[in-house]
Symmetry: C2
Subunit: 663 residues, 2 copies
């Protein structure tokens, strides 16, 4: 027996058992709520309001005072004990930030680095395609289908000792395919590119032609009747915690047929990796759900890309995915349980090649799916792909690579050495834990200026009416508040002659955007489109920027270098693309070096994945990068804490590190 | 909407759609009917009688006249068009011949060849077991679980370049297993035995430790927490068309813990391979059903063997199966469709290694399952296993290996060359197409003598009351009828002064056993336990024995040798074990050579499979045997037809070939 929970205004009803949280019920109804605390009831984001029914039991948790007065409860800490009707307000809903993704795409296709990566490694994909005309069998030439196929392949390679393998799935299809094609057949092969050049004869190899037991040199991964003229396609994927981006690639020509992004459907189980890991560990079907959710996102992208390009998903025959270590675990349904617990151990950093069909990825079921190898629990395949894409590991010059999201991940190094770390910046650059924080979706303030009379000029994502402030806007805000003297070096609000500075329910706050009933005067009304920044927000932001800068300092210290030794700084990731570098330096988040050393690299995760998809050498290079990157665990007495404490000022305790910034 | 069909006396009811055959309905009810014609309505074995209902439509087909008068219809050619009640008589039911299987087992364990095979190849199983104590991770030693495991394995091997692989299933279990075992763990490895001896350094190998993309040298196939002291077990299987036999083996010690057989549950879809291939091809779920049926037999054996030995099925970690080519296809669910159609092409003769879990074989799901390679459509892995077991391919002397069932398969050769063929002996040695033919189940006449006064002395399987006559009894009967002058060299009945010789409904016949109402006088009553042999039976038998002998002659002709060149003749298979060699020579089925050259080899298929299970070298030897055996297709102008026609006499047209036989 269960209770009916109806969500408004969607008018969606689900039946749940007693004790189910409203958050879970909403997820069942397909309504994804914000969250950054992992359902612990502390972030105060997944707020809902009970309209009807008396069996909503609140188990305790944090609710922003204003929302509490309005009757909201955190869905993650409210359980169902009767039939209910529940309102889900817009501000608690996870918004699908399509625009951001489209902007990323547009940038990527033109990015210079991508061209570089393709040029550096060239076109040498994992799969080779070969059309063969076999001699039909007769009573005296009656070898088995597999023997016939491999004999023809050996002749084509000019190597009578070449060994071949396939899986049972292919063998089950083989007889029908050969006959459907009238003994003309197209095969896709792994290891074929190296095969003809390989020395003949093997010491311990099988002597029979069709041998499948000893590891074969060449794998037949797929087969189709006749001479297939359609191009062999590949999919490069960046599996981000927030969004998933895929590029559809023609593996014959090396061209990109389309790029597309969507949000990671896992968000319905929590906004950040920690929340998702907790879900995977503690819910009975948690890991399955997270795995299914990300596949849902990917399959959506595949369908959209194929439709737009006028191709069939079955023509996608090779997939390379890059994601942070947790995302790669969840993508392959490998338990990530110990990643979040000290000493933070992933199951693997390099995963076996898997058939797409085995995973439930709706491309050609025989397509080999590979993940770009990770380094450690908090330096994943996305960072390795980024290093690959930017060419950091191939240059003599020292490069710093930074990817800022919930975690700030960074790599310092050159062709001889690399050191990497991850520092928890907290969720505020993604809008979490900030009074009016939000993701970079339409209506988010992404740029702002404060005039001499404390007037505020804003720019929003998509030019929409302002609804909140996103990461790049927050960096701007911090710099501009400091510059205008509204906050001091420690982030404390100062007395300034402006009605925008006022005392809100949680202490001092500065009004960036007046609500509709606000105007110039300081009326603390309840308008939902008013945007303020509070002293608590400022403190959170200072901690976040401090963590990033302390991470950079720790890396430098670990290799006994200084800022002056860094030749180039790549800022990667969706956030990085919109960051005002000057402001990021001004607040002491990024090092105060010559601005020409900075460059935006865009989504380097998907770029690196694409290079690895197009070239086996690039994939091997990624593996080599992962293998030789030294991971610096910041919690293990690395001096990080001292650096962090020194960074909790604007720009820093040691002003000598920021010569270009007025203090 | 469907019709209800109730089977009597079982009182089992199934619901089927209009047009379903009664044979199929019976199979759905779990009632297995005899058949040798593949459901073509020609063998007249799957007879049933409609007791109630008027919608049983007979589509035409062969019915023995006596049965037709009694109201029987062939179930394969009668379709359902209303609710029906149908009687299935005992004589049409497939009998589970448990006794035969038990007799085979008893013989096998003592057979000398088995000891030889084990001694020849020694103990060198596919899987190595290794217990490891890993250092627990900490913040500075925080490699991934897989990296930690493989690093320990590399240390154990003393080879820092050794590469390891595993599948996703293992990786998904790895973190939990390592922690459950407190970082002590037992692993099972493939390729480990060769690993330490291998040269360090690889030209194109991955440089990172945990690499899984390039073919690894060692596969981690399974893992368990702690130090596992239980023995690693293996299963050797012979998948016969009629029966399935399995041996449970301790791979640590090389000892056999148990042997067990059961009938192949596929029999419910037809008695012989041809019928089953038709079922696989023409029924929508035919291949699935046949695959499930043989797995049902195997899982039954696994359960029984483990229960008797007091071990767990999960401890069975390696499986080697041998069967004829069709049986191996069906076991792996690979379509056998083109095996039965000229030019008789199997999908493969050497199959990939498959995980038991993928197949549905209920041993350890990670256990690698291998099939002994076949040679061609009608010379299968069972014959290759037989050659391996008997050591034919290792001796200088020329050996003839014969396995007689529905097909007579034979191999001639020595360490330098081997030639093999298969001749269709028809179903009569298995009791098919013979008036009172039956399989070697209790009550079957397996030996007989005819005295000077035409009195008949019989011996039955299990000493039970006679119900029919099986293969070895039929060979005896043919020899004794000829010796007593009851039939002539061409198989025609002669006038003899005995009431046993009479004219039955289908022409002349000889009464071997009188029915209860018979006694000395010739009353042609309808008793079911009367056993006769008809002139038509004799003609069938002569064709069958002629095919076997012509096959042997064709092999000799192909390599330009004579009977005198054969040093040893192995007679294998369940039938062979009970064959009276002297009588087989007398009727011209087996060559007339010195009887000391003959020896019974028992179930060489399971023996060969066991040798391959115990020793990788033996498995490689089997592969080599399959690779170098020349298959002679008898239908391709090999002179077989001439030999066959000459063999249609008792013993032969050319009496010079049977000097020891009185003509």
């Amino acid at each position: 027996m269960g209770f009916k929970v109806t969500f408004a205004p969607d008018n969606l009803t689900v039946t749940v058992s007693r004790g189910t949280t409203l958050r879970r019920a909403a997820a069942m109804a397909g309504i994804d709520l914000k969250s950054t605390c992992g359902g612990e009831g502390t972030c105060g984001l997944c707020l809902v309001r009970v309209l009807d029914g008396d069996g909503a039991r609140f188990l305790g948790g944090n609710i922003p005072p204003k929302r509490r007065r309005e009757g909201y409860l955190p869905a993650c800490r409210t359980v169902v004990e009767s039939d209910l009707t529940v309102e889900v307000p817009d501000f608690a809903r996870l918004v699908r930030h399509r625009v951001l993704v489209e902007k990323i795409q547009a940038g990527e296709v033109l990015a210079e680095e991508e061209v570089d990566a393709a040029a550096r490694y060239g076109l040498d994909p994992l799969l080779s395609r070969l059309a063969l005309a076999l001699d039909p069998p007769n009573l005296t030439e009656n070898a088995s289908d597999w023997t016939r196929l491999t004999a023809a392949l050996r002749r084509a390679a000019g190597d009578p000792d070449l060994t071949f393998g396939c899986d049972l799935t292919l063998l089950r299809r083989l007889p029908r395919v050969l006959r459907d094609g009238g003994w003309e057949v197209t095969v896709w092969l792994r290891g074929w590119a190296d095969a003809p050049a390989a020395p003949a004869g093997r010491e311990n190899g099988p002597t029979s032609g069709g041998s499948l037991d000893a590891p074969p040199r060449v794998l037949v991964t797929d087969i189709a009747p006749g001479r297939v003229e359609r191009p062999t396609l590949g999919l490069a994927v960046d599996i981000g915690t927030t969004s998933v981006v895929a590029h559809l690639v023609d593996l014959d020509r090396g061209t990109t047929l389309g790029a597309r992004g969507t949000y990671n459907h896992q968000a319905r189980y929590g906004d950040d990796v920690i929340t998702r890991m907790i879900h995977a560990t503690e819910e009975a079907r948690g890991l399955d759900q997270l795995n299914e959710a990300v596949l849902e996102s990917l399959n959506e992208l595949v369908d959209g890309l194929c439709l737009a390009a006028g191709v069939e998903p079955a023509d996608i025959r090779s997939v390379v995915a890059a994601g942070n270590t947790t995302m790669e675990h969840l993508f392959l349904k490998v338990p990530p349980d110990w990643i979040r617990l000290e000493p933070y151990i992933p199951a693997a950093v390099d995963f076996p090649v898997v058939r797409a069909g085995e995973l439930g990825l709706r491309v050609n079921p025989a397509a080999p799916v590979r993940c770009v190898p990770s380094v450690a629990s908090y330096v994943g395949g996305d960072i390795v792909a980024g290093v690959l894409a930017t060419g950091l590991a191939e240059r003599d010059e020292i490069t710093l690579f930074i990817d800022i999201g919930t975690n700030g991940e960074m790599v310092l190094g050159n062709r001889e050495w690399m050191v990497a770390c991850a520092c928890s910046a907290g969720p505020c650059f993604e809008g979490g834990g900030i009074a009016h924080g939000m993701r970079a979706v339409p209506g988010a303030i992404e740029r702002l200026e404060i005039g001499p009379d404390y007037e505020v000029r804003i720019e929003t994502v998509g030019g929409a009416g302002p609804r909140g402030i996103c990461g790049s806007g927050l960096v701007d805000a911090l710099a501009k508040l400091k510059e205008a003297g509204i906050i001091d070096r420690a982030g404390r609000f100062q007395e300034v002659p402006s009605s925008r500075l006022r005392t809100g329910p949680d202490g001092p706050e500065f009004v960036l955007v007046w609500g509709p009933d606000g105007g110039g005067a300081g009326s603390g009304g309840a308008s939902t489109s008013e945007v303020v920044i509070t002293e608590a927000d400022v403190k959170n932001l200072i901690r976040a920027k401090g963590a990033v800068y302390a991470g950079i300092r720790s890396l430098l210290a670990a290799v006994d270098l200084t800022l002056a030794d860094i030749d180039r700084i790549y800022v990667a990731g969706g956030f990085g693309n919109y960051l005002n570098i000057r402001d990021a330096v001004r607040i002491g988040m990024l090092p105060d070096v010559d601005p020409v050393r900075y460059r935006f690299a865009g989504n380097t995760s998907v770029k690196g994945a694409k290079a690895a998809l197009l070239s086996r050498r690039a994939f091997e290079a990624a593996r080599e990068i992962a293998g030789r990157m030294t991971y610096l665990e910041l919690s293990a007495g690395s001096g990080f804490m001292e650096e962090f404490v020194s960074s909790l000022f604007l720009p820093h305790t040691d002003l000598g590190q920021f010569p270009s910034v007025d203090s």
